[in-house]
């Protein structure tokens, strides 16, 4: 979900970037972090707690909390809030869930 209108900020339409999340095709825009693009695509569960397997969402956005860590292009534990989205990126969390597009 993106901002429609804003009294101060202007969000111009930027170039589309294609990426996959857990194997599903998704799009984001130039300048998005991976995390921002995922939230825009309705993804809430980013990772899970180690012991209790509880889902973790996006929390701090400054690279501090580790809740948004995912495997990006086969590299583990990438901070998705600190990493800009790139064309063709393969993003995976470790939850392996099926996403139903509406």
């Amino acid at each position: 979900m993106r901002v429609d209108e804003h009294p101060i900020l202007k969000f111009e339409k930027k170039n589309i970037i294609h990426f996959t999340f857990n194997g599903h095709d998704m799009i984001g825009y130039d300048g998005d972090t991976i995390a921002a693009a995922l939230v825009d695509n309705g993804i809430m569960k980013f990772s899970k707690s180690v012991i209790n397997n509880r889902p973790r969402g996006f929390y701090c956005a400054i690279g501090n909390c580790d809740s948004c860590n995912m495997t990006v292009n086969n590299i583990k534990d990438v901070k998705t809030c600190m990493t800009l989205l790139e064309e063709g990126m393969k993003v995976e969390n470790e939850l392996h869930e099926v996403i139903i597009n509406d």
């Binding site: 979900m1 993106r2 921002a36 939230v39 569960k45 980013f46 889902p55 969402g57 996006f58 400054i62």
Partner: protein
């Protein structure tokens, strides 16, 4: 090993200000920033700042970031982005992690300007997806134009909670309530009034008891608190929301200083563990200076002034005297006094006394 006169850790308001002054004093400066962009948290601040002209009052935070970055680019300071400083050692050497590679940098002086992170709040199910730090929500909506949800509840009425609530409304999100555990609003009245005019209920003496939802946030249960901060039985209320923003204060990012065993003190008024500093902003580690939120949570306006002082002093420590040293020293210290005066500055003045910074 890379050698520099000055290493600045953190590219926010304090770090950038330190870089500029030190470069003006003739130092070869390198700044290390773990994000992909400079500016720290200024880049998402759409509100206009207070203070005086020298701290860019009446200018929006994001515009201040642009000014600071432009100023820095005029110097020959070297900028390392996506570069996390993972080690600080007593002989003024740091280890940096950047693009899958570790390397070391040695410097005559180091300025720590790592800033702060948001505090968390303990309640049942506080880890449900949909519960965000208020600053994270600000990043999402003001930088990326992405909304965290449709209906939000804000926890905490400090300036961040008040400002982000207002910005959520500007971005088209419904703010269903702002809850505050204390008996009064923490931030400036001018920010709270804006929210009241827009019909946002500000619930004081109230906190979040529980979050409810299957895999993601669906609603919260609030509870009233008595004067001793105990829950009042039977005062629970349910608020449906798909996002909850936690804005219960910030905590200094002290880890590098603690790792190097600098003398630290826990000061509640300053937000947590802070380094003990001399009046020259030097920590107990020789040649290691600190400025901005890492030395105590304050506004970005103060962080900029502190950064300048730290840059000035770090330069002097290494034998680089800024051409306007005396003028700047007096001017900057009096700017800080002005920023910290009055009832709003009481908490910070009290905290700074505990670390011996204010007589």
């Amino acid at each position: 090993m890379i050698e520099k006169d000055l290493v600045v850790i953190g590219g926010g308001p304090a770090g950038l200000s330190a870089c500029k002054i030190a470069a003006e004093a003739g130092m070869k400066v390198a700044v290390f920033e773990r994000s992909f962009a400079l500016g720290g948290q200024l880049v998402k601040q759409t509100h206009k700042f207070f203070g005086s002209e020298s701290q860019y009052a009446k200018v929006r935070g994001m515009e201040i970031a642009k000014i600071l970055i432009k100023d820095l680019e005029k110097t020959d300071a070297e900028i390392y982005l996506n570069a996390t400083v993972v080690g600080l050692y007593k002989d003024n050497i740091i280890t940096v992690y950047q693009n899958g590679r570790y390397f070391k940098v040695k410097a005559k002086a180091i300025v720590i300007a790592t800033g702060a992170s948001e505090k968390f709040l303990a309640f049942e199910n506080n880890d449900l997806p949909g519960i965000y730090g208020a600053g994270a929500v600000q990043t999402l909506m003001n930088i990326h134009g992405v909304l965290p949800g449709k209906e939000v509840v804000m926890v905490g009425s400090g300036n961040i909670g008040l400002i982000v609530s207002y910005q959520l409304i500007q971005a088209g999100v419904k703010v269903k309530a702002l809850v505050e555990a204390a008996g009064k609003i923490g931030g400036y009245g001018v920010h709270a009034s804006k929210l009241r005019r827009l019909g946002v209920p500000i619930l004081i003496n109230t906190t979040v008891k529980r979050a409810i939802g299957k895999d993601k946030l669906e609603k919260i249960i609030t509870v009233k608190l008595d004067q001793n901060w105990n829950e009042i039985a039977g005062s629970e209320e349910e608020i449906a929301c798909d996002a909850l923003c936690i804005s219960v204060g910030l905590s200094p990012l002290h880890q590098l200083l603690s790792m190097a065993e600098a003398n630290m003190l826990y000061v509640n008024e300053l937000g947590g563990l802070v380094p003990i500093k001399t009046c020259d902003y030097e920590t107990s580690l020789k040649g290691v200076f600190a400025a901005g939120d890492v030395t105590g949570i304050e506004e970005a306006s103060s962080a900029m002034v502190e950064g300048k002082i730290a840059g000035l002093m770090a330069a002097k420590h290494s034998g680089f005297i800024h051409p306007e040293y005396e003028k700047l020293e007096n001017q900057l210290n009096s700017e800080l006094c002005v920023l910290r005066q009055g009832p709003c500055g009481e908490k910070i003045r009290c905290g700074l006394k505990k670390v011996g910074e204010l007589a």
